[in-house]
């Protein structure tokens, strides 16, 4: 049997977009506010926020910036290139504080900045609301690009998140990435859409323009494929599970139920 903290960590890990505070509140109530257990959840909160690219408004700022493993400075601090600042992040409450100036110093600075500029245009065109981060990683040998778009509508019982995550390796001209969508609908039920699509492209050049173009292409194609997949699930598996009406196109005549059996062997467990 898994330990209690492993059970709680798995709850945190499967938390839907925008609902971490609700999940934490429920866990507290179930455990009668045992503070030691919540403390043991700290690593799970950190992992959740970094993997989900949690966004946070800096004190005094207007735009939301990203929390991820790529812009971690250690000790619970993260930095943002566009704002030229670093901040402390509380993983349990998802709030930022202690903003300091932070200027990026990296041999990749120029590429990072031009990517921020061209990808920002791309996000404006395709995401009604999103946050973007570009960070040099792996000792400046690669660049990470993170885009996250959230839309929360708890009053209507749904929340959604789109995450795009790319690693660019200039030395071998590759762009690899993962596109993920997570949607939660919970009015009179609990329905979850989770998707994951790997991307792998060989770049003809490592200019910001070419990288942005490839990212735009990959995302457009994926969204079109995903839209089609809704249709094929609806027409395929869903229809094959249960008919809307019997083949006679009318509801059952229960009084004649024995008549349906005539000439038919209807055995339990039989499938076509």
């Amino acid at each position: 049997m898994a330990s209690n903290s492993a059970a709680l960590a798995s709850f945190v890990e499967s938390t839907p977009p925008g609902e971490l505070q609700d999940v934490t509140k429920a866990i507290k109530s179930i455990l009668a506010d045992d503070p030691s257990v919540l403390q043991s959840l700290e690593p799970a909160f950190e992992k959740y926020n970094e993997e989900q690219f949690t966004t946070v408004k800096l004190p005094g700022g207007s735009e939301e910036v990203i929390v991820s493993s790529h812009n971690s400075l250690g000790g619970g601090r993260y930095y943002d290139v566009a704002n030229q600042s670093s901040f402390a992040f509380d993983h349990a409450t998802q709030k930022a504080s202690s903003v300091q100036s932070h200027v990026l110093e990296s041999p990749q600075s120029d590429l990072v900045k031009s990517l921020l500029k061209s990808l920002y245009q791309h996000t404006l065109e395709h995401y009604p609301k999103s946050s973007l981060g570009v960070y040099p990683i792996e000792n400046d040998s690669a660049i990470a690009v993170v885009t996250v778009a959230n839309k929360y509508s708890p009053n209507n019982f749904w929340n959604g998140r789109w995450r795009s995550h790319y690693i660019i390796s200039p030395s071998n001209s590759t762009l690899t990435g993962l596109l993920r969508v997570d949607v939660h609908y919970y009015e009179d039920g609990n329905v979850r859409l989770q998707t994951s699509k790997p991307v792998s492209v060989t770049l003809s050049s490592t200019s910001a323009t070419e990288i942005s173009r490839q990212i735009a292409l990959a995302e457009k194609k994926y969204q079109e494929d995903l839209n089609r997949a809704f249709g094929s699930l609806s027409e395929g598996a869903f229809k094959a599970l249960r008919r809307q009406l019997p083949i006679t196109r009318q509801k059952l005549e229960w009084e004649k139920i024995s008549g349906y059996r005539l000439g038919q062997d209807i055995g339990g467990g039989r499938s076509r």
Binding site: S10, S14, D33, H126, A149, L252, G267
Partner: protein, 279 residues
């Protein structure tokens, strides 16, 4: 402020966490808060397990309502599997069992006509002022090696006898899981459950118009059959709307395929046109 009731919090949590893991999450919750175990097992629907009836070789479905310890009662033979050490186990009275046999025959036809396959089971039990029962239906498909789906219906109802009417209450849960995998798509999982409840009063037909025992035996359950059929139709439409309408719309709300500057320009043009026509 007083803390929320732990059971309500556990149910709230289950409404938020991935519905695919509901069984695992219920186990975890029972481990974390053992005092909630009984209520959680009673009130949370998990995908139905399948067993084969040793006597009739037909498959049947397992839930809390046909369980006695670690054994389940087959609706086809009325026997527990594996057999209970201490004899009989909890089974319905003769009158209710007769109704149960009829109901299983009827829903077996229903299953074939609507699901064209799958498994059905109906369990009834006696109540002080009437009877209660559940209708279970389950089907799984894999139209292609990379695509699969499963449907579990759990309809729990009770009927309270009153003078000339009976009061019926039906709570229905459908657990629907769909998965898709392809080179261009990656993986896509669309899973969950939805719950609906209805209550209604209906006149009980005069048992005298029916032939002796059989009429008496299947009379009271007649209304619940219509209720289940109506409910499943409504729920199928609802699931279709939420899974393929709402979920897809939210994706479109997160990201727009056409550039937003174009969309906004089109909208502005449209507004202008409407305004000019209104002038």
């Amino acid at each position: 402020m007083a803390s929320a009731d732990p059971l309500d919090s556990a149910l709230d949590l289950l409404r938020r966490l991935n519905p695919k893991d509901v069984k695992q999450n219920v186990d975890y919750l029972c481990q974390l808060a053992p005092s909630l175990t009984e209520e959680l097992l009673e009130s949370v629907d998990i995908p139905l397990a399948v067993k084969q009836c040793l006597k009739t070789k037909r498959d049947f479905l397992c839930c809390d309502y046909n369980r006695d310890g670690d054994s389940w009662r087959s609706p086809w033979s009325n026997e527990f599997q594996p057999p209970l050490d201490d004899g009989e186990g909890i089974a319905p009275s003769d009158r209710i069992r007769k109704m149960e046999v009829k109901a299983n025959e009827a829903f077996d036809v229903y299953r074939e006509l609507y699901f064209e396959g799958g498994i059905s089971s109906v369990y009834l039990w006696d109540m002080d002022d009437g009877f209660a029962g559940c209708v279970l239906l389950k089907k799984a498909v894999s139209p292609s090696p990379k695509s699969n789906g499963s449907w579990d219906s759990i309809h729990v109802f009770d009927a309270q006898d009153r003078a000339r009417t009976a009061h019926y209450k039906l709570t229905s849960t459908v657990i629907l899981s769909l998965g898709n995998e392809a080179e261009n798509l990656g993986t896509m999982d669309l899973s969950g459950n939805m719950v609906r409840q209805v209550e209604q009063d209906m006149a009980v037909e005069d048992d005298g118009s029916h032939v002796a025992n059989i009429g008496k035996a299947c009379g009271p359950i007649r209304e619940t059959r219509f209720m289940v059929e109506d409910m499943e139709l409504k729920m199928r439409n609802l699931l279709q709307e939420v899974y393929f309408g709402k979920a897809k719309d939210v994706v479109g709300d997160l990201r727009s395929i056409p550039p937003l500057s174009e969309t906004n320009r089109d909208r502005a043009t449209q507004r202008e046109m409407i305004n000019s026509m209104a002038r």
